[in-house]
């Protein structure tokens, strides 16, 4: 499938049994691969933005005197934006949670594009397959919900 690296990354090291022989490279933080840096950026922005939304939602929830054990409203896409404008906690919480769940998938999309541009078609295909598995998860979730009524 063409998974050999082309200016990419593999693991190397020495010093404990059960690993391939090879020199250990000192940690070089000055010239990290651009794709890795881009992915790190995606993960950082996604995580911090999402956790900030969840944080705001939590503050609104606690300030409103509600208990987290009361059972929050289910996710309804149509009510998220109105909830945000009305400063209701559910809107912030759901937007943050969806952001948290979406961040790894966005990382995979970005990685797939990066591999494709570098000509690493095998790994671009792997990224596409990972996204297909996530889509399968969405489908299974919907189907289970329908079957369960």
């Amino acid at each position: 499938m063409g998974l050999e690296t082309q200016g990419g990354s593999g693991a190397s090291g020495r010093g404990s049994p059960g690993r391939p022989a090879g020199p250990v490279r000192p940690a070089d933080q000055s010239t990290p691969a651009s794709l890795e840096v881009a992915l790190a950026h995606v993960l950082a922005v996604g995580t911090y933005a999402s956790i900030a939304l969840v944080g705001i939602g939590s503050v609104l929830l606690l300030a409103g005197g509600a208990s987290p054990l009361d059972g929050g409203p289910p996710l309804q896409a149509a009510s998220v934006v109105p909830d945000l404008f009305a400063l209701r906690p559910a809107g912030f919480l759901w937007l943050g949670i969806v952001g948290i769940l979406a961040t790894p998938a966005i990382r995979v999309i970005r990685a797939g594009l990066g591999f494709w541009r570098r000509g690493e078609r095998g790994l671009a295909l792997v990224a596409l397959l990972v996204l297909a598995v996530i889509a399968l998860g969405v489908l299974i979730g919907v189907l289970i919900g329908v079957v369960a009524g």
Binding site: L3, G10, A11, R25, L43, V54, G72, I97, A105, G137
Partner: protein, 289 residues
């Protein structure tokens, strides 16, 4: 209000504990929410999955920048953990909660035994779960790796996925085990590093530090795939998730900064006791008592 603050504090404790000991938060969050706050086990698993993604994504970025995570190997294996996560997410709603509690109790016992053994050797166990310890862009400073391990980075010039040819032949086995790791993650709300780290280190010969970082990277896709199934099935409660996730994030950040000042052997001993007590409580729930 009080319950929310307690949940936040519990999340902070779980995040800090996990960070200091190199364990994923899921192992602690699920018992905290189900035994401590009375949430149904499946709901606790759903919340835990969200928390696990938060800590994984935050620290995976740092690992990628430091070239300590093998992106290519991680992406190939997460394809299989993702498949396992879909399977696990689908069957999680078919299984009796008491069975899940029983499996969780066994997992806790296993981790307690591993940590106790590692404590005698004076090291952190290789079975450590996803490394939450770099949340907040701080570096894990625990002296749990050999000097060479700590310095190891991903080699840009290595061959197939960075594996030696004899190890690369074991990829089909690694793929099959990864499916199992995904199923375990979805059923129990854990990152699955407890399976993936030894798999990469022992079976594929990847250095421990890189195995941990790569496992951490994979956790995001594994947990989010199953969390999506939980979300669509109504298995994630936004109100319970909010304070817990924020607490875990804060705790993991604190843990990574307090790493130097804490007596880790004492903490590990304390943690083993907590795990054993929790395993006992989970076993009681499994037996319906």
């Amino acid at each position: 209000m009080e319950v929310g603050l307690l949940m936040l504090a519990g999340g902070i404790a779980a995040g800090a504990f996990g960070s200091l000991l190199g364990l994923g938060g899921g192992l602690l969050i699920v018992p905290l929410l189900s035994l401590g706050f009375g949430l149904p086990l499946r709901e606790a698993v759903g919340v835990s999955l969200v928390c696990v993604i938060v800590t994984s994504s935050a620290s995976a970025g740092v690992y990628l920048q430091r070239r300590q995570a093998n992106l290519r190997l991680g992406m190939v294996l997460e394809l299989f953990t993702g498949i396992g996560a879909v399977i696990g997410g689908a069957i999680a709603f078919l299984l009796d909660e008491r069975l899940l509690a029983g499996v969780f109790a066994l997992l806790l016992l296993y981790v307690a035994a591993t940590m106790a053994r590692a404590g005698r050797r004076g090291a952190t166990p290789p079975a450590s779960d996803e490394a939450t310890s770099v949340v907040g862009d701080d570096v894990d400073s625990r002296a749990d790796a050999e000097p060479d391990e700590a310095a190891a980075t991903v080699d840009p010039d290595a061959g197939t996925l960075g594996l030696a040819p004899d190890r690369a032949r074991r990829l089909p086995l690694a793929a099959a085990v990864s499916v199992g790791a995904g199923v375990a993650s979805a059923l129990l709300g854990i990152g699955g590093g407890i399976i993936k780290v030894p798999l990469m280190h022992v079976t594929l010969g990847v250095p421990l530090r890189i195995s941990t970082a790569t496992s951490n990277l994979m956790v995001g896709i594994t947990a989010s795939t199953s969390a999506i199934v939980y979300l669509l099935r109504g298995g994630i409660d936004a109100y319970a998730t909010g304070p817990t996730a924020v607490g875990v994030f804060i705790g993991a950040s604190l843990g990574s900064r307090l790493g130097h000042r804490v007596n880790v052997p004492f903490l590990r001993l304390l943690f083993v006791a907590v795990l054993l007590f929790t395993a006992f409580q989970m076993a009681r729930r499994a037996l319906g008592r």
